[in-house]
Symmetry: C3
Subunit: 424 residues, 3 copies
């Protein structure tokens, strides 16, 4: 790896151009918020949506998600447009959701259907349309479109692990975190942390991790701009001349991460077989900001390999990743213990960073993935603001294609000039 | 009920005129706060004031209420004018309240009587007068006057249920709520919610409620401007031609509500007798804002009818109003369960509305009571700001009259042209 | 004591001159904060610093205190300069503290020693120097210098009770409080409160307190400007003509208090002997603001007298100072009970005062100690801002002298013209 000059993106905003400091803030009317609203975002898990309305905050907006009694999904403004009472307490009935205060009834499109206290011949109900966003279910996740063309939204991409599944798949329980979504997201543009932060996490207990994510001999990292965002390519010399071990991660805009090596690292399959055959598990994380200090993490796993009960095994192995740190009686630190559990390690480091654009940073060569990725996101925000198609957005021509994030793991012939080879 | 054009009061403030958005905010120096301070306000319950000072926040001001050892009531600024220590911890002794820090002693008028550490011949104590407000007890409630003429305040009105009592009366325990006082107050200008929100609350279990507050056949509503504020008149055709069932509620400025039908609805007396004889229970609620997000509710009940142990019966029936909603294990909504208990239903709907003037609203025909009432309050605020006598304020000529809020309930000959008939 | 005109220091800031309202605010860049940073401040207790980093907020700055594996003390900025992760979770190893995220290693000077993910020949580590402050341990307390000359800081004064100890000494457990540090500090410039607030605290149970701190016959108070700050001199006529009882307290800038009468008042030694021989206990309190709403209190005691097990006895007597107040079931006041325990009495009065400069005050003759002391502090802040040597700061010429706060307690020949006699 050669030291080279590092592309820099200023963290100060000048002349109203978008900067890195804009990325984390996604409220209505912000540059990043407007860009994020060009995509479909996950707002809930189908199996968690019962016969009661579910209040949910998305991109700084207070909303209520529900299924009407005909199972149609609706996502409306949380507060009734009449007098403001929370529709979280509404009754699901009569083809919609009925506010408890005065009985105004709204269908999933936000159209008011009834106002019980108004004169019986009143035309007022048909004039009232409440804030509503298009919602679609796909493979167990509920997506909403909160962008500018709500009457004619872009197609919901056909996400691989949700529409083209193997015999085994799962949606993990939602995770909630109380720091900025981008701290989590850009962490995957930074593979060095795997060898350092996660060096305690038991990778060393199996051959792949031991060889590949070594603290002392880290892999080479390449960062390849993709049509969907960026791919992180980690390589080491392979078992035979002209071959390389490869392990890839994908970051798709606005906020999807695919980790390629789930069964190697976490499920600890037979490395020799895996290296020959490659990964057969898609492990996707969809990040949805509630606001600038909170986000939800929705995870979809899809396994097409031969291992029986793959997810049960994965879960059992994750549960064994109990932090091994001894915590002394005088140690009152909030996140203790964390070492040895990948998710707790991430939570501690990302949760104490503060907000990008407010915190001080000194970046260098090993941060070139982060630097490049921030530039890609800033470009996408600017494209979105201009009304263009930002990276990762699927247009109507592509609507029927399955949307995959190709992350290779295993042994292959050495690939050179990655940027040129990978079709953008 | 005919659909008619609706009087509108703009929620945007222009040219410094008072608007609906001013109503909820009652801190010192605000238009609504200045208006509210023209009246006596309830600051405590006599039986709850022990031999220790009681910190209380009223209209955004931190105060301390106490009774000196001769039982004189005092309401002073919470912080000692000397160095700021809280007088909540003062000792009641020597004709006043003594700050624990340096022993400054204040009488109920705020006059400093002693400064133990000052030279014995010092004239300084007589120069120090702490913030104090006139306080009076009436029928178990403690009222304060925080307005401009504190040396010569207007008379405390002789409130009916406090000065002219039947054989049975009670002051209910104070209730505290953490939302804006006006959400609660204007709720009574909106009778439609009784038929809708409270349709689960067991009214249907007795003949009066069943007939009168029907969800499908609501009563007619009239809103009559009164000298004290506004009266809500709810009527339905009576048992004989030329008669009507009537049920009334009064809203007296700045913040008193009388509900007329307590024994019908809640005590479930024999409806036939009651309808013939009318209500004999006065049920008053005094709303006191602590600040713009909190209020206290003081309730005085006065019963002059023949039923023995009326309030015990009322209490037992209220306790039976346990919400009947089944709450499923997945239902983690904060206010659950609420259906079936009038007070919980109100708490949920009003507590989630947000602040008038900040929330969005779409009002229509069935909101004409709310619209009219807001206009009455805005007019009163403007009158108060001009130094005039706002509605509900009693001047010295009326000082000896008992202040009643006439709310009729029962059967009567049909009354037409209510606005003209009712003496303002 | 004659009533005389009182020197006043305006609480309003004009023309950027420093005022009393500036004193409490010590964040970076404030006048008081800049002044405070000219001194060494206590940031921790040696025995409480274990083999893990300790997050500590000082003067509004988030810092991390640690001892490297060679026992060298370090105080660095809490957030890693690389990507902001909290160094509270860093590993102490390899001659420094290693950030968990990417393994950047910093020594106690803030110098970056390693960046494991950077190219092996990278020069970047040597260019990165993290925020660090000089730290020194003295007699069990850890001091830091956060001022302008960090490469050549002024000498840490040789504080008497830390460097020149008797056979018995102790560092008390740190106390934390959630109000402004100056409410605590200036309380000692106000001896009248001892006779008033602490009249319940059991002083009356022993001859010295009974005679001296009488509520009805208070001692005379003099306030003497000193080179280190101010001394409070309390006197009463002595047992023989020409003699006086004396009890002194010292306030050394920026925030040290010495109380002279610890063994008289709290340890309740034989008053006759003590009065003859004088106090042999140094009782120092070092106040360190965390920010403008929180402070830490570090207490060092040094006893050179003949009493065996002096501190065990002192502790036992303090534990007996349980508030004797009966608390009635209706009494829900936060600080109850407080009467009878000096520290709880102080906590209540100081904790409810609000911020100097924001609260209203009316000061008079008995506040002349507070008034004089505030003026001394304002002068010191101005001196500090001009780059001069503020009171209480020790320069290099004085570096080898033991820094003592002379507080006399006992009987002495009457001293007149205190200001002239005491060498400044």
């Amino acid at each position: 790896m050669k030291e080279k000059s590092v592309a820099k993106v200023s963290a100060k905003r000048t002349n109203k151009s978008v900067t890195v400091a804009d990325i984390p803030r996604v409220g209505p009317g912000t540059p990043s918020g407007e860009w994020f609203r060009r995509y479909w975002v996950v707002v809930g898990i189908a199996r968690d949506l019962y016969d009661i309305p579910q209040a949910v905050k998305v991109l700084g907006e207070e909303l209520v998600l529900f299924r009407d009694e005909f199972s149609k999904l609706g996502l409306l403004g949380l507060h009734c447009p009449h007098r403001g009472t929370s529709l979280e307490y509404a009754d699901i009935e009569c083809g919609g959701i009925r506010c408890p205060y005065h009985g105004w009834l709204f269908d999933v499109s936000g159209q008011c259907l009834e106002m019980p206290a108004e004169p019986k011949d009143s035309k007022f109900p048909q004039k009232v349309k409440h804030l509503s966003y298009p919602v679609q279910e796909q493979g167990g996740l509920i997506f909403a479109y909160m962008g500018p063309d709500r009457d004619d939204p872009p197609p919901l991409p056909k996400y691989g692990p949700l529409v083209d599944r193997g015999s085994q798949w799962q949606i993990e329980p939602v995770r909630h975190a109380d720091y900025n979504w981008f701290n989590f997201f850009e962490n995957s543009a930074d593979p060095a942390h795997v060898c350092i932060l996660h060096r305690h996490a038991g990778y060393g207990q199996q051959s792949w991790g031991n060889q590949f994510f070594s603290y002392t001999e880290m892999p080479s990292f390449e960062f390849v701009e993709m049509d969907y965002g960026m791919k992180v390519v980690m390589t080491k010399p392979g078992p035979k001349p002209g071959t390389e071990f490869v392990d890839e991660m994908s970051l798709a805009l606005p906020s999807i991460v695919q980790v390629g090596d789930t069964e190697f690292v976490h499920a600890k399959m037979d490395a020799a077989v895996l290296i020959k055959e490659g990964s057969q598990c898609e492990h996707w994380m969809f990040v949805t900001p509630n606001d600038d200090e909170h986000f939800m993490l929705f995870t979809a796993d899809n396994y097409k390999g031969p291992e029986a009960n793959f997810f049960e095994k994965l879960k059992a192995l994750r549960e064994k990743e109990t932090p091994a740190q001894e915590v002394m009686p005088y140690d009152k630190r909030k996140f203790m213990p964390y070492k040895g559990n990948v998710r707790k390690e991430d939570l501690m480091t990302q949760g104490t960073q503060g907000l990008l654009g407010e915190r001080s940073e000194q970046l260098s060569v090993s941060d070139r993935g982060v630097i490049k990725f921030r530039k890609i996101v800033v470009d996408a925000i600017e494209t979105g603001l201009r009304g263009g198609r930002p990276k990762g957005m699927v247009d109507k021509k592509q609507a029927n294609e399955v949307y995959r994030l190709d992350t290779q793991v295993g042994v292959r012939a050495i690939v050179k000039n990655l940027e040129l080879k990978i079709k953008k």
